[in-house]
Symmetry: C2
Subunit: 290 residues, 2 copies
Amino acid sequence: MTFKAALEAASGRVQDCLAAELAGYGDDAVIAAMRYAVAGGKGLRGFLVMESARLHDVPAAQSVWAAAAVEAVHAYSLVHDDLPAMDDDDLRRGQPTVHVKWDEATAILAADALQALAFALLARPECAADAGRRIALVASLAEAAGARGMVLGQAQDIAAETAKVPLTLHQITGLQANKTGALIRWSAEAGARLAGADPAPLSAYATSLGLAFQIADDILDVEGDAGTAGKRLRKDAEAGKATFVSLLGLDGAKARAEALVEEAEAALAPYGATAETLRAAARFVIAREK
Amino acid sequence: MTFKAALEAASGRVQDCLAAELAGYGDDAVIAAMRYAVAGGKGLRGFLVMESARLHDVPAAQSVWAAAAVEAVHAYSLVHDDLPAMDDDDLRRGQPTVHVKWDEATAILAADALQALAFALLARPECAADAGRRIALVASLAEAAGARGMVLGQAQDIAAETAKVPLTLHQITGLQANKTGALIRWSAEAGARLAGADPAPLSAYATSLGLAFQIADDILDVEGDAGTAGKRLRKDAEAGKATFVSLLGLDGAKARAEALVEEAEAALAPYGATAETLRAAARFVIAREK
């Protein structure tokens, strides 16, 4: 299966899982906002879960629960990031953001409930028959999403913006390892965790992938087209924020991203040819549509 | 041990657990805000966990993890509820609310991280040696805190306020069963869950207790003193919101709360005299300081 087909298949399964889950909830606005927030998006994190699970012979009917969990966390983080008090974005995936379509209170609460939902999904027996493996997923997702992972990265990003002192390359690398890296790493490691296997090779792969992803995002922010990207671009440059492009130059950033993709591909050596789709995923993140 | 001594002992242990946990985090503002948000408060939910655990011979060194988890969820919900887009409160427990002391972005993020922390605490081996019991706590807390529990209740409360149509007694009872009841019920049931026992008697106790607690809150809102309560009072009456007092009258509300406390006490019959502290807790909630 090509990478694009695998990404679409994984994303479709994750969307179905989340839709089926939320069908068991009511019709309140906060539930409608949850459904809206998890729809769309490329589903890269869910794909990483399902593809790393496939490498460990974990069936899709099982890995889709962990994939849906990480997409729920990702969706919650975007809803909160888009709030006026945070990044103040009106557009996400080409659609009005949740607080624009509903209101701020609904956006805050819908995202809060999506975080709870993520842990509910990991706790399902369908996620893994062995409770110890489910608990390992819960513990690691709580760590990746929390104040030593994603939330810390977001807070560091806002602090840097407020301080108006551009970050160094070392600082921005650390920030991104938290902000986007932690969840990408959790996703790629999940397949090994579901199988009770050593997540080290997938962890190394995801660490390089996550950084390449963020550098590519900064490149896209400079070179991209808002219509294709489905969100406002060139915000960072306008705000005078340090980015990988401002620190390394456009060519330097591209060279760094390419080197990271090679590192990511090399980390998958223990999996041989079966990991080709994950290698293609790494190449994809630096070749996204402008 | 008297109820007050048991409450203080449980609260002290929970505070120590959370402080020790957060000592392993950094010095960023978002972490400082998390420490601030979990400090203070009566710790009723944590007490219910530890006391119900004691009834099942689960040691305090074990139950404190689940107690700390529910207090982290409770603290996160207060931080988000206090935001300008929600209840817009400047004062909580007699201190400036998190978004006043820091800013809205820090408040949103610190609370998000507290929710993640709650699940991290439940996933600890110290919480229960058996992974299946830890997963049962994760699943039930995610349900109680999410869009069929606490978050739904908060959303219903805001929707009622926006609609300016006063709720019926049936509606307000359902709303409160979600908004405050779900977490109180989880707390009381946790002791049985930690022991792998049937949570039904504790569940019945907590259902009556939770509703009595909310009715008492409405009474306190009318009769109370802002200095003693540590928060702004008479907001509901000013907003023209339906409360148990507006629907039942002050005497009717007091009578209903007293009947509920009797029901809560009666539900503990299977535990005999060992449940005396939980009975005292039920009496306490309707006799809080004005």
